[in-house]
Symmetry: C2
Subunit: 150 residues, 2 copies
């Protein structure tokens, strides 16, 4: 099996056709990792997502450094993984965030099939606080494996 | 959709029938998350795995606090996620680790279908340093979602 590093463009290609990954955050050096849906905004180099207000959001408010892992696994010999290193930023109702809110909304509307573990809360609550956030991408790395040409 | 917290026994049931998840570690509060194969040792409350010596291992040597996320996703309304919080511990060639090495080996032999992104290195190297480690489980949490009985 041959493994090679992806270029930034190859990493972005995977992010653009993905909407699901795992987000890791850390507080006092204890990491925490959960599945997330996201939309990649190639122009602004951001991942947009939303979440119920819980441990993940509390931790990212305290330490905005995050890592998002995205995979495309065909089989044991053909797989691609991309890691995004970036910073958490909350999209509020403030006028300054109007553009970001609209962008996030447009991106979310392209994803009608999303399911929402990130927004799900324990119990039968019909409604609960959900916020929009983005990860400002600072660095992207990726690897691809294949038997022959990769 | 109804979401409920899993008991420790329910979490362990998913770990026992899984061999793949995502491991997050952190160094200087920067999280890092990668896919990993593992074998759950229910008796010793450990996850055994192996890895090439790279960034993940270097970071876990410096900060042994880790989090492993394991999923069982049937569809958007039926999914289970389990989080393991624990500590990284390297299995060396020392006589004191003989039992752990044998346990790991037995567990690995039950997983002939493993593929090895964790062990893969960039380029055409035929051999490279791989080590065995375990995550000593300190705490497990889980959630399950379903439309009716969950």
């Amino acid at each position: 099996m041959l493994v090679h590093e992806l270029s930034a463009a190859e990493c972005e290609e995977l992010l653009a056709r993905s909407d699901f990954g795992r987000l890791a955050c850390a507080y006092e050096n204890q990491p925490y990792v959960v599945p997330v849906h996201f939309s990649f905004d190639v122009e602004r180099r951001c991942l947009y997502a939303f979440s119920a207000i819980g441990q993940k959001v509390e931790w990212m408010r305290r330490n905005p450094k995050v890592c998002v892992e995205v995979e495309d696994i065909r089989d044991k010999d053909h797989w691609t993984t991309v890691l995004v290193f970036g910073r958490y930023e909350e999209i509020t109702d403030a006028p300054a965030h109007k553009g970001a809110r609209e962008t996030a909304q447009e991106l979310f509307e392209k994803r009608p099939e999303w399911w929402y573990p990130a927004a799900a809360r324990v119990g039968r609550r019909e409604s609960h606080a959900v916020l929009i956030y983005r990860i400002r991408i600072e660095r992207v790395t990726g690897r691809r494996a294949g038997r022959d040409r990769v």
